[in-house]
Each structure stands twice: as structure tokens, then as C-alpha cells.
Amino acid sequence: QQPVQSPQAVILREGEDAVINCSSSKALYSVHWYRQKHGEAPVFLMILLKGGEQKGHDKISASFNEKKQQSSLYLTASQLSYSGTYFCGAKVESGGSNYKLTFGKGTLLTVNP
């Protein structure tokens, strides 16, 4: 079952902040965040492996609450280049010590001048 992302879409002015949330009904072993621009491949942003882990990438950071099976992506002082669709990928167990990456439906972020 795919993780649930919210909001579905967000529009910002350059310099504003945004938070994108991702939650799973199954136990999360890791969370992967990707950004995809229109017509292009998803680009890997970061992976969070441990409960409570937080990571940063320029002004984009993320947290992972393992107990709540949730992750949040924080975009600070947004730039025009941040525009795109953000996907969270949930790594869940698929049986036999195998794991599977399942993506949420994505959050469309638009940053305007």
C-alpha cells in the first residue's frame, strides 16, 4: 500500500517555506525523497534510515518519525529551482527479508517569483 502524501499541491512565492508530509500504514524501514521536474527523471534528494533522523540538503531538510510512520520534508526560503513534484518513497518489508520501495502520489510544488 502506497504512502500518503500531503498536501497534493502547494504554491509559494520565492523565499517562502513549505512542509510536505508522508505517512505510511505499514512499518517504515526508510524514507526516500525525490524531486521530479516535468518530463524528467526523479532525482534523489535524501534518504532517512533511523527513527528521529533528520537530514539537510542546502535549505531542504527532512525528518523521520519511525513510531508514527511519518516523514516530513522541509523547504526553507524556497527558490524557483525548487519547483517540481516531490515524491516520498517508503521502504517496507515485502517478505523473505526483501524490501520494496513504494511511492506516494507526489506533491506538486510551484515557486513563483
Binding site: Q2, Y29, S30, H32, Y34, G39, E40, A41, P42, V43, F44, I47, L49, F87, G89, K91, S94, S97, N98, Y99, K100, L101, T102, F103, G104, K105, G106
Partner: protein, 116 residues
């Protein structure tokens, strides 16, 4: 630069006419994945190879097949494309079998398939 390459970037085919999409990688990764992504939807895993070991997702239609002749190349064959198969097809690679939590997948630019 090491990368994942997909050809062609755009493919137009006719209803029912077989079509093959290709993916190559210079990362020397063991695992190659094929995803289908329809407009405004999440990428959906069709199948993956770990080396030559093929792993099909339970809900992937029989119409979709794949071949991996060597480490670098992987092909997606759609035997009889229907209108519902129009989508972006993404190839991804990773270095880890069984998809452990720390595994990162690297995506190619995708092939957009149009079925007329």
C-alpha cells in the same frame, strides 16, 4: 559521468503493435527496475532484475515482459499495447539486492509512450 540512459525519449506506437523500450547504465549496478508512471501518479513498479534473476510484481499484466542480456542493458517489451499503456516508463538501478532499507535507486530520464 556514470548514468542511466533510456532510449528513445519519446515513442509512438499503434494499438496492438509490439514495442520495445531500452535502458542502459554505466553504474555497473546489479539491480535494474522498470516503473510505469501515468500522468500525475506515482511511479509503479512493474518488475526488476537482480543480475539475471527476474522478479515480477504480482499485479504486472502479462502484456509486459522484460529482458536483460547483460549487466548494462535492460529492455521492456510491451507485446500488444493498449490505450491504457500510454505512460512514462522509468528505468532505475541500484547496487543492492533485496532492496535493503539503505538502498538508493537512480532513475533514467524515462521514455514517454504514446499509443494511437
Amino acid at each position: 559521468d556514470a548514468m542511466v540512459i533510456q532510449n528513445p525519449r519519446y515513442q509512438v506506437t499503434q494499438f496492438g503493435k509490439p514495442v520495445t523500450l531500452s535502458c542502459s547504465q554505466t553504474l555497473n549496478h546489479n539491480v535494474m527496475y522498470w516503473y510505469q508512471q501515468k500522468s500525475s501518479q506515482a511511479p509503479k513498479l512493474l518488475f526488476h532484475y537482480y543480475d539475471k534473476d527476474f522478479n515480477n510484481e504480482a499485479d504486472t499484466p502479462d502484456n509486459f515482459q522484460s529482458r536483460r542480456p547483460n549487466t548494462s542493458f535492460c529492455f521492456l517489451d510491451i507485446r500488444s499495447p493498449g490505450l491504457g499503456d500510454a505512460a512514462m516508463y522509468l528505468c532505475a538501478t541500484s547496487s543492492a539486492p533485496r532492496g535493503p532499507p539503505w538502498e538508493t535507486q537512480y532513475f533514467g530520464p524515462g521514455t514517454r509512450l504514446l499509443v494511437l
